[in-house]
């Protein structure tokens, strides 16, 4: 999916989804009374508070989107983003508990580093299985999400449980040291977290890395997995391994920042809004362009805010999940350019790389030969 959907297709996808949303929401009437549309306006860009929540919801989607885009650029999937977010946040929390006396800046930096390591290590397992054995990374990464969720439930409900707090359905861990927060900037009535700015900065840095460095060039080539790439001396398996672990690290960082920026404690609500999965769709809509993920994440943050507005009005907020799927399917279906018009060579061997590689995965054995 190097090129990704054309800009026109992306706009059409978003407009079509918006149309479905308008039809669906118009059919709904809130049992609580009052206008649903007014509530949506108030919960999104209508008020400073609404704008703040759109930006907050967009933040984890941005990190997840970057993690997904990095992976897709080398022709692989990472559906394990929620799990990596959890493990990143867990590792960072562990660090924070042990460094409770440390001042704010070093503590936050240590937690962020721990998050990157935690997310990256969690990805290492499916990444090694993919690269060495050819075990589908789609299934491998996804299965580990369920494991990570149970791990989170164990720690927040067991050893780290906060016995003073009753969170209803969510389990909450012991509070973090008070200095474990990120600064927020207020412009008018809107608040922007430093976490979101870190995300934008990361997008810029990654875009530069992929644009200007040898690594970026190698991973763009490794995407095809062609014989030629290997003859050129590029180690496809190493590039893929590094990319997968990098992707896990970015997701882990997103998890930590979600804790530092918004939750302020490790809890099972970490992945409640499915931002890890939505990020994959955000990346797809952006055609895996790293800078494009930023506006795309904002759009899905807006969508998520609509979802919570609907929930406030006691209307099913699940429409958001449906819309997310619709945006993806409309953005990526093949309408405008039938494939038989594409050049023969490109039509045959290299099926679009975002599809789970039909050719057997290049493994260490093969590369060594």
């Amino acid at each position: 999916m190097t090129a990704g959907p054309s800009p026109i297709r992306r706009v059409i996808a978003v407009l079509a989804a918006a149309l479905v949303a308008v039809v669906f929401i118009s059919m709904q009437s809130s049992p609580l009374g009052g206008s649903v549309w007014e509530q949506i306006w108030l919960s999104t860009f209508g008020t400073g508070l609404g704008t703040t929540s759109v930006l907050q919801l967009a933040m984890p989607i941005l990190f997840a989107g970057l993690a997904a885009a990095v992976c897709q650029r080398t022709g692989m999937w990472n559906i394990g983003i929620p799990g990596q977010m959890i493990m990143g946040a867990w590792t960072a929390t562990w660090v924070a508990y042990h460094l409770s006396g440390v001042p704010q800046a070093p503590l936050v930096l240590a937690m962020m580093a721990a998050g990157v390591i935690g997310g990256g290590l969690w990805m290492l397992l499916p990444a090694l299985a993919r690269v060495y054995l050819g075990v589908s990374e789609i299934i491998g990464t996804l299965l580990l999400n369920f494991v990570a969720i149970q791990w989170l439930i164990y720690w927040t409900g067991g050893p780290w449980a906060n016995t003073n707090q009753n969170g209803g359905g969510t389990l909450i861990a012991k509070p973090l040291p008070a200095q474990a927060t990120l600064p927020q900037f207020t412009i008018g009535s809107t608040t922007i977290g430093l976490a979101l700015l870190i995300g934008v900065a990361l997008a810029v840095v990654l875009a530069a890395v992929y644009r200007y460095t040898q690594f970026g060039y190698r991973s763009a080539l490794a995407e095809s997995g062609d014989e030629l790439v290997r003859y050129a001396g590029i180690s496809v398996w190493r590039t893929r391994l590094v990319t997968l672990v990098l992707s896990g690290g970015i997701a882990g960082l997103g998890g930590v920042l979600l804790v530092l920026d918004q939750l302020h404690v490790l809890s099972t609500s970490l992945t409640a809004d499915n931002s890890g999965y939505v990020g994959i769709v955000a990346a797809a809509l952006a055609g895996n362009a790293l800078l494009g993920v930023v506006p795309s994440a904002l759009l899905f943050g807006f969508l998520a805010a609509i979802g919570s507005a609907l929930q406030i009005m006691d209307v099913s907020g699940e429409i958001v999940t449906l819309l997310t799927g619709l945006v993806l399917i409309i953005a990526c279906i093949n309408v405008g350019k039938p494939r038989f018009l594409a050049r023969r060579s490109s039509a045959r061997g290299t099926s679009p790389p975002s599809a789970p590689a039909p050719e057997p995965a290049p493994t260490l054995d093969e590369v060594a030969k």
Binding site: M1, W77, I79, L125, P126, A129, L133, G134, V135, S136, I138, I139, G140, L142, L143, L144, F146, V147, Q150, W151, I153, Y154, G157, G158, Y277, I280, V281, A284, S316, E318, I319, V320, T321, L322, L323, T324, G325, L326, L328, I329, C332, I333, N334, V335, P338, R339, F340, R344, A347, R348, S351, P352, S354, A355, P356, A357, P358, D365
Partner: protein, 311 residues
């Protein structure tokens, strides 16, 4: 019935939704279609089957309605974009998952508090249930369990021993060659993705109508993904799917079983087991397949878009 027998009997029942879904996915994969959206398809079958069963007071109608919902949903959301519009199968499958999760939750909004009074009752097979130990585990089950096993046997026979089955395998191995042989590739791809939608829908309905007896939006809890892994684990062999499904059913039942019997292991760790087990087994299976050098039955053209005009 001893405690162990009862536990194993529950495991067989718990594995049945996996068996249906994995059989459906396998048949789709045999004609070259990789659909990773099983979870969404199962959820659609689960919710529609549950609602119809309560409205009509008929479990059989519920099961069929679940299958029909799965078929229609798959044909519209997966088959049309993939076979007719030739989109990427991975992306569409991912979207199918999302749409299925969202749509089923919307459909089932007002049904989460309802529950069935009784699910499918056990049907004891005469004579067979007298077999010591195994009889009570395998042959005192609701009829969808037997139907699933019979279906697997039928699919194994059909794929392995009939001309039609060979043709279908040819589509998955090399759609261009199959086309040259005069097989209507897009037609059979549409047909078998519909079948896979039906079986996933039935699998979801079995889950709500025979096991949980109620509906919530997370009722499948990753079973669709486990079924997807099962197809690989079983090496695209329908009969291997039977015992693989029941084995994974046992894994799924470990957490409730352990909790009920007061095991010293914290329940989150028991709940992890099916997913860890699936992953580990998949790794070992792939490693073993590479070592043994046995030819894989994985369709060679799995996930490849067939374009007739390209030839």
């Amino acid at each position: 019935m001893t405690v162990l027998q009862a536990a194993l009997a529950t495991a067989v029942l718990a594995g049945t939704p996996l068996l249906y879904a994995a059989l459906g996915e396998m048949m789709g994969e045999k004609v070259g279609l990789l659909n990773i959206g099983l979870e969404g398809m199962m959820l659609m079958g689960a919710v529609v089957g549950f609602i119809v069963a309560i409205k009509t007071d008929s479990l059989v109608l519920g099961l069929l309605a679940g299958g029909a919902a799965g078929t229609v949903f798959t044909l519209v959301a997966y088959t049309f974009p993939v076979v007719v519009l030739r989109s990427e199968q991975g992306v569409v499958g991912f979207a199918v998952w999302f749409i299925g999760v969202g749509l089923s939750a919307i459909i089932g909004t007002h049904w989460t508090s309802r529950s069935l009074e009784s699910g499918f009752g056990n049907v004891n097979l005469p004579l067979l249930d007298k077999i010591p130990f195994v009889g009570k585990i395998l042959f005192e089950q609701p009829w969808p369990v037997y139907a699933g096993v019979l279906l697997a046997i039928f699919v194994a026979w059909g794929l392995g021993s009939t001309r039609h089955g060979m043709n279908m395998r040819a589509i998955g191995e090399d759609p261009d060659a199959a086309h040259a042989m005069g097989i209507n590739v897009p037609f059979w791809q549409v047909f078998y993705s519909g079948v896979s939608g039906f079986l996933c829908g039935v699998g979801g309905a079995v889950l709500t109508l025979a096991i949980t007896l109620n509906w919530n939006s997370e009722v499948t809890a990753g079973r669709g993904w486990i079924a997807l892994a099962l197809v690989i684990f079983a090496g695209w062999r329908p009969l291997a799917l039977v015992w693989a499904s029941f084995g994974f059913g046992a894994c799924l039942m470990l957490a409730p079983f352990g909790q009920a019997h007061g095991w010293a292991i914290p329940s989150p760790f028991l709940s992890m087991i099916p997913y860890v087990f699936t992953f580990v087994v998949l790794v070992i299976r792939t490693w073993y397949a590479r070592r043994s050098g046995r030819p894989s039955l994985e369709p060679a053209a799995l996930g490849v878009t067939f374009v007739r005009e390209r030839r």
